[in-house]
Amino acid sequence: MVGDFVQFLPALAKGAGTTAILCIIAAVAGSLLGLVIGLMRSSSWAVVRWISAIFTNFLRGIPLLIILLFTYFALPLLIPGAIFSQMVSGAIGLTLFVSAYIGEVVRGSIESVPKGQFEAAEALGMNFAQKFRYVIMPQAMRVIVPPWVGIILAMIKDSSLVSVIGLVELTQAGKIVGTSTMEPLVAFVLVGAVYFVICYPLGHFGRWYEKRLKASGFNVPHQATATDILDEEPGPRVGGNQ
């Protein structure tokens, strides 16, 4: 029985590899998009701020599964003749999903930088890009790590949903192996263990880093929640030229 199983290990390993690729793509792309979304929240143009707010608010108000079904089934219809592979659709869906959460964390970390830093940068004649590039983001980046890790951790788990659109990633591989071996219990315990081995140390790292930051007096923004979007009107940080 266990011997049977060994021959299926490569299939599970391949699935784990697919999950890894998917997650790396979505983590990189989602972080970049999230950075843009978060920075848009500091714009001096109200329209830009509202676009960012609506994007964030909407994506966080619907299930990831719906986003994935949409990017897989509906999105290709918008581009005549396009067929997206499951990997591409999954990566797009996951990227959009995490970018909304990362955008909120970026906004929170920008808000954690004292107002005087914005004013000092402006008083020296820096424009928007210079101000954020040299003064604000280096300071914001320090506190962004723990909530960012939290989001990536959740994303790794959530990536299992991409199996629903048929991508043979780790969870789907487990399902296939479970069916062919007639040992679904073993298969899913094994799959769960792989996720655990990746996520558990990541969570520990996040908490360790957060403690260290707090010990040195930083105000760490907590992970964005579904209701805190209502906390305040989006707006630029400085009462300058609005």
Partner: protein, 240 residues
Amino acid sequence: MITVKDLHKSYGKLEVLKGISCEIDASQVVCVIGPSGSGKSTFLRCLNLLESITSGTVVINGHDLGDRKLNTSAVRQDVGMVFQQFNLFPHMKVLENIMIAPVKVAKKPKAVTREKALELLDKVGLASKADVYPSALSGGQQQRVAIARALAMDPTVMLFDEPTSALDPETVGDVLQVMKRLAEEGMTMVVVSHEMGFAREVADRVIFMDGGVIVEDGNPAEIFDNPKEARTQAFLSRVS
């Protein structure tokens, strides 16, 4: 150098500045005094556009701040500002703090800027601190670095927003010393301050503000020894 005509500033319904007019000449050192809430800091912040102007005109060194096509960055490069809370960039060493704006904003060559920055540090008496982070400095030292940072842009006007209010008493003297030397070198300075001794000794002119208007404007001896307005008298008797 600076011309202000009928400057108004409101936050919603709250009018903080109710028509300020004054002329400040080149090389003049002007101290703005007044009770808290009198609008003196807001007035100062309007001069480099940290606050937008509700109505009226402000012209600094040829820049009309009400002009729609105004290059905000150019004005700010021309007008140095020193804050009450220093606002040094905590993630940069002292020298980097001074060099960042000349190099990145004014696009000056690094080597030249570096020399200039070291000179300025020497001038404010902190030549040995070039390579430390701001957090390793006392408040007074940080404020002197902040002055050097502003001077590194070669401003024609320097604004000081209560530069000594957040300092421990024993470090105030060094900062005032640096400001005094700057005044003697002919810098145009507008200083919002509670340091009456400094105002009396260094300023060419003292403006007393209360309730969003200029109540009295004259040379220090007149204002301090012989104030004409009742509000000025009341304020001075409270602070001295």
